[in-house]
Amino acid sequence: MTTDLADAIGYLPFPLGVTATAEHVVVALNAAGRDLLGDVVGRPVAVTLPHAGLLAALDAAYHDARPGTADLPVPPVTVGCAPVRDGVLLHVTAAGTPDPDRARTSALQRLTGQLSGAATPEEIGRLAVTTAAELLGADGAGVFSRTGATLTSLHSTGWQAEVTRRYQRFPVHRGRPLSDAVLDGVAVWVENAEQWRHRYPEMAPVGTAGGFQATACLPTRVEDRDLGALVFSFLTPRAFSVDEREYLLTVTALCAQALDRSRLLVAEQAARATAERQLDRMTFLARAGRLMQAPLSVEQRLQQLADLTVADVADWCAVHLVRDDRVDQVAVAHSDPEKVAFVARLQERYPPDPEAPGGAIQVSRTGEPSFVPDIPDELLVDAAVDDEHLALIRSIGLRSALVVPLLVRGRSLGALTLVHAESGLRFDEVDLAFARQLAENAAVALDNARLYEQQRSVAEILQTALLPAVLPQVPGLALAARYRAQSDDGSGVHVGGDLYDVVAGPVPGRWAVVMADVCGKGPQAASLTALIRHTLRAEIDHGLGPAAVLHRLNRAMVQATGAAPGRFATVVHAQLDVDPDGTAVRLVGAGHPPPLVRRGDRVEPVVAPGTLLGVYADVELTEVSFRLDRGDMMVLYTDGVTEARGVDGFYGTHRLARFLRSSPARTADEVADGLLDDVVTFQGGRLRDDVAILVVESAP
């Protein structure tokens, strides 16, 4: 603090100095001070001015914060010692100086000490006005800070209430004494009421209100920094002698120094607060970003975003989405669930007006943000449908609101609404920029999710084109099929290669079932899957036996996959002849996992070895024949079942057999559902591969 003081005294015409440390080293001495004391800067007073009385006064000021004075014989001066932070302020007067000057100097010293301890502009303003006015014998005073073309009162005293109120905040206006002083950087002296009326007729009623006569308007400037002005008013006319002017200017210079120091301090604190806020916001955006990537539905993600927002950024948060020609509120959050419920009831009773300008629905449609830093009561009155509605929305206590569009590639997907209510906080431009950033990030994430959903639905449509929409009703058989695509692994959505089908044969009572698995995924796998389905249907219709059908299929595949060698499929195909006692089965396998047959509580695999299809021109296939009695069940599946992996290793045929033996599921549908559940649960809900299941039960 002594550094600030050292700077400050440099501008003052009175002999002043500053010492620091218990050694009383002189750290500053202004020009007037040097004239009296000589060049003593940088050395301890004990060395340069070895005088017991002076050292005692310095000790008292430094250690005990007690001001005092000492008269020195050589040089013939009086030195006042005033405690200031971390040091002592010296004021020096030559012997024989008149008393009024001495009093002024000591008052000035007091003010300097007080100002050096004040931190905020308001505090300094109060000191400048009260202490200075007292020192100067002023009856009214005010200190104004300047921001651009606006002057704002920091503190004032002694003026009429109406004047004080009217000049809290006002524009700089050339031709008025205070403004002229600020604009020109030159003091304006008005000595009496007559001068007011003559020089400033427009302002005279204000300047002389309450019987004031003289006024001094003194600009506060430090170097080129224009801080505002001090005004001192007197109830008696004053001639403002040269001495008096100099004294007023000195007081003003002291105040200006202190104001400048506090202004810098405040600016620095604000910069630090802004930086910290910026850091908080970046952290928040990162958290929100991670959240938007979570494997949740769009609504869940937006609700989580809203929840996160009300924990950190606003009292209320809502998200709206454009859906076709509607705009739906899909998430709303407040830290108090009671309030959320209250607003939900309110909106049910009084649905929001879609035409309300600046409302979430309008912002969603137009893509133009709306920002109401201070929500005036008139806005609520305008929005209210009736008195009760008004009372209810007033009870929410809305203070500040902003609504920003969820913009992506120039298109608005919806809107993010942030509201401050009971916290009493107010959004500013920084909040608006932040909210826009948050909304934009969310919109991009939403857009990605939307593209992904589209891709997924295309894949699902394609997949269902490869699978029968419904299984045929087959007399004497109960059929059930289940298909579940693999969980998304982040690499995108692909059409799987699993296929099952049930086809009527060329003779009554004859049916064919197929289960196949094409290796790989994507368009090539899908086209091969389609080829398999159509070829099988055609060949079955020709009345060929199962092994012959697969030989034909193999040839068709080898021809088709010539361009993509190594693209193969495993297939199991059975021909079913239903009779009154059950079903005769002819089954052939081509590298496919063996079907299981359940007879009562016995479960056994149907082993029909064979070569996979699509790679070799000739394949070895063996056909097996067996019967399914009434109530017997055959289960066909893909390796998505047996290669399902859980914490205990692979699901495997042994678990599949155990499930069929021990499951309480009886009907084909129950078995298919139970098995799918069991496999999905086994993998902890995440499917590594597509799962297809086809259950054939001979009529019970």
Partner: protein, 115 residues
């Protein structure tokens, strides 16, 4: 890393172990391609150390076999007695591929890494 085992001239051998599926396929493909780059008359892929192989792994072998045949060279596999043997047997491939017995001594094996 290629892991050519000790053997007669004209034979390159790749020894894969661990799991061969979509996650490790790229690594396995690099191993096989590196071994095939010198166009050895006989390329041996040793799968006997695999604890898992899925259809993409099977396809890798079928493609290597197809390339070798087209180039008039030979590809053989070692399947051991574990998982790989069961998979290739179930797919009906034991008669289609050149299957060699397990190597007598354990050499340098490439443990597959997800890529």
């Amino acid at each position: 890393m290629t892991a050519p085992a000790e053997g007669p001239p004209g034979v390159a051998e790749v020894v894969l172990c661990g799991e061969l599926d979509i996650a490790t396929l790229d690594d396995a493909e690099r191993q096989v391609e590196a071994a095939a780059a010198a166009a050895p008359p006989l390329l041996v892929i040793d799968l006997s150390g695999l604890t898992f192989v899925d259809s993409s792994g099977v396809r890798l072998v079928l493609l290597a076999d197809d390339r070798a045949r087209s180039a008039g060279r030979r590809l053989a596999v070692r399947l051991g007695t574990g998982h790989a043997l069961r998979v290739f047997q179930a797919l009906g491939l034991l008669d289609k591929l050149d299957v060699l017995p397990a190597r007598p001594a354990e050499g340098a094996a490439h443990r597959l890494a997800p890529g």
